[in-house]
Symmetry: C2
Subunit: 197 residues, 2 copies
Amino acid sequence: MPKQKNTKQKILEAAIDLIAKNGYRGASVRKIAAEVGIRESAIYNHFKNKEEILKEIISQIFTTPFEFNDLEERAKKGKSFLHQFVVAYKLVSFDKKMEKLFRVMMIELFQNEDLRESFLEEFHQKDIQQISKALFIMMQDGLIRSADPMFMAQEFLSPLFYIRLRVSLLRIDEKSTAPIATQFEKHVDFFWESVAV
Amino acid sequence: MPKQKNTKQKILEAAIDLIAKNGYRGASVRKIAAEVGIRESAIYNHFKNKEEILKEIISQIFTTPFEFNDLEERAKKGKSFLHQFVVAYKLVSFDKKMEKLFRVMMIELFQNEDLRESFLEEFHQKDIQQISKALFIMMQDGLIRSADPMFMAQEFLSPLFYIRLRVSLLRIDEKSTAPIATQFEKHVDFFWESVAV
DNA sequence: GTCTATAGCACGATAGAC
DNA sequence: GTCTATCGTGCTATAGAC
């Protein structure tokens, strides 16, 4: 089934584009079909209804991108681990596909309960857990001062989220992100200075 | 014109409620009228069209709540100034009306260019400027370490924003915010420990 | 300033031919 | 798997009576 998958994929991509611009309600089946180059009725050969399209998109959002399998070893390096993490975070922030999915997430977050739960449990929690694990190791090794690792992880991550949000907003209007792009790295410096022993 | 204002106010309140739930597109003139208890056509005696309702709501969002006229004096007190700011920030985060407006802002942020500009220029910039001014004074007084005050202000504010976002999300589903509510104050402690000389 | 009535359009979805 | 045709509904907005 190579052709079917192709059309289904096209529908999903068109839907992501349109939802990222106008939200779920603004992305009508008509417009999605038009963008793909088929009729509305053809959509229903690939998805039961409009909501199924959204559900499949939402599942794409939370394919957690930041996972280090050798976390313990990396954490021993202290600041350079955090730096690596932020470089990966920055890359995702500027990746076109991921940026669109981020917009979809932010738009629908307040209107879709499933998405809210995934946000709090996956998006939020998974990063927190990974960073807090690393910070805990750094505390044991005496690299950073002692504190609640979970809370410290949130202090580390929330400025990154805010920068990402602003990057996303600026790029919608095609404004320059140059002054903001360096803030990712500046944050690591500031944070390390804040917690290093 | 006491009666006219009353109806207009009711329309605005109903619109805020509905937009906070379903977004601008989901808040139809029909539903707004039904909630107020009048017919759709009557709405147009108070607003030129649907968009005018949104514009008036947006203007309400950015009535900047955090302004200290005696900022210089307060800043000299160091941590307790930051604590005062956060208490005010927390109050706004839990205020019912402000919480609804926050939801409206977050929902429409990615779909409304005017709102985006106001967000970046008012919501973001105004707080940053005030906090950075205070931090600058603290640096001069040797209370905290030296750094770019604007950047440090952002490091102070962005975790607050993230906590506020999570509070807002939890409250939609009427989940407990008890564990999260204390994070506002914990953030001040953590931040002060990070920058205090 | 409210009502009834209605215009004109876009929406999601289905039936049935090819 | 795509098409044409169509249904029923909800939408914003206006006209005109009261």
